[in-house]
Amino acid sequence: MDLHLDRITLVYPDGTSTLTAVDDVSLTVPAGTTTALLGPSGSGKSSLLAVAAGLTPPTSGRVRLGDEVALTPTTSVAEATRWRRDHLGVVFQAPRLLDSLTALEQLELHAHLRGRRPATVRRRALELLDAVGVADRAHHRPAQLSGGQRQRVAIARALVGDPAVLLVDEPTSALDHDRGVRVVELITSLARETGAATLLVSHDASTLDPVDATARLADGLLESPARPQRTEAPGGRCVSAPAG
């Protein structure tokens, strides 16, 4: 299902005045594609991501999944938690793995959070760890993994529940250019395989070759509507004009 951000505005209280971090942004991310959200630091990228993740309610606007309205300014904390639990995969700027869990357990935790036995996702978890290239580190804890390996475990963790929506915040900020490109490639191809509508935030355009479309934020405003990165998406599908 496609992810729709409809006229999202987010205003933070800022001392006595307010700060408009996201200003009337509308964006559609088709299922199975990756849209990169570009913009300088402080332009509101993380804020928009936080709204899409239900981590903070929008001041106005709404988030839809297909025809289903998921988040509005009045969405409760419990509803937002349910949205994340049932539909979302999130990759944070830092890997944010739990120190006491092995790579495999980081993924199994996903099932436990949802009241299922961890073993029920073991096969899928191992598949994903294999897909991100850390299958041989499945039983190691974060302290025994390199920075890049941790980032890839975090990506696998976000995908273990086969989420409809994948939100990724600056996945390349801690990586060198080549590794950055490879991580973006990995996310893009996994999104395509799993059908997740993926919104990927970055301030580094040079690593974004593999994505399907880009959008650019400046001071909370969408500078240019999402436009295709390449004219042809893999498989010949044109992503700039979502097929009706």
Binding site: S46, L49, A50, A53, L55, T56, A78, T81, R82, R84, R85, D86, L88, V90, F92, Q93, A94, R96, L98, D99, S100, L101, E105, E108, L109, H110, H112, L113, R114, P118, R141, R157, D169, E170, S173
Partner: protein, 362 residues
Amino acid sequence: MFVALRDLRHARGRFALMTAVIVLVTFLVTFLASLTAGLARESTSAVTDLPADHLAFAMPGPDDAPAFTASQVTADQWRRWRGVPGVDAAEPLGVATTRAGSAAGTASVTAFGVPAGSRLLPAGSPDLTTGGVLLSPAAATELDAAPGDTVTVGGTALEVVGTTDVEASFAHTPVVWTTVADWQAVGARGTGSDDDPVATVVALTTSDDGAARGDAAVGTTTVTTAQARSAVASYAGENTSLTTMQGFLVAISALVVGAFFSVWTISRSADVAVLKALGATTRYLLRDALGQAAVVLTVGVGFGTLLTAVGGRLLPATVPVLVDTTTTVLPAAGLVLLGLAGAAVSVARITRIDPHAALAAH
């Protein structure tokens, strides 16, 4: 407890330290409880083990609390108690702590004066007649006296008629039994003529609420034998101070547990934010954290209690510890519950952790 158990293993140094503290606090609390019970037993076992359910005190002032040292009942009073409906048996009981002597030496004892053939004597005791004295085992040991020997009790020479099977102790002294007639010389304190013997209390065996009915008519204050412990001076003082100490220790341990889980929860608040951002409900996280606290508490309190149970057996008999369910399991349960309450207050901050923080760069 997917994360909680793995955290326990991962941060095992920190949790081992905390568990050790709980072990020691639990040991202190349960050992103190055992000591309190042991001391109470040394102060009052002769009273609480009496085969009677109530004791009637006659105090000098109308508002005086019952006290063995001040109470004095007349022959008339104990006879009147016998006639109260619902009272099956009423016997005079003299209680006086005094000096006893034998060829081997002297000892502090408490003389219990009872009528000849009284049911108040420990079960299986030999007959007690005028001029005879019955010794509890500790008294026999201290006086090195055997049946047939002569001992003096408060200056009166009496012949040892035997030794009881069970220990009986009053105000940390072993008990010896004499007839209430012989006891007059020890405990009558000079009032009343020889024809009008007195005792300290009337020991009552009642059915229905006979005990409540007699007081007004006879002019006495009646309490149960359990309540009568407070009338023993040594018990009243010790018990309050030792129980207060236990209360403080339990409160301190709740605070320590609370403080530990406070610091622990703060140190993992970034993880909690991530877990929330990944879709964990607050309930899930609270259950996880409280489960973890319960594991730490149960293990710590369990070992601490075990330490008391084992330690109590290894100690020499002169240390009056009494290890039983009320002095171990009961305070242990209190420690676990209060500790959990302390932990609950600390981990409650989980509800306030904002998952938005997970997005912040680190």
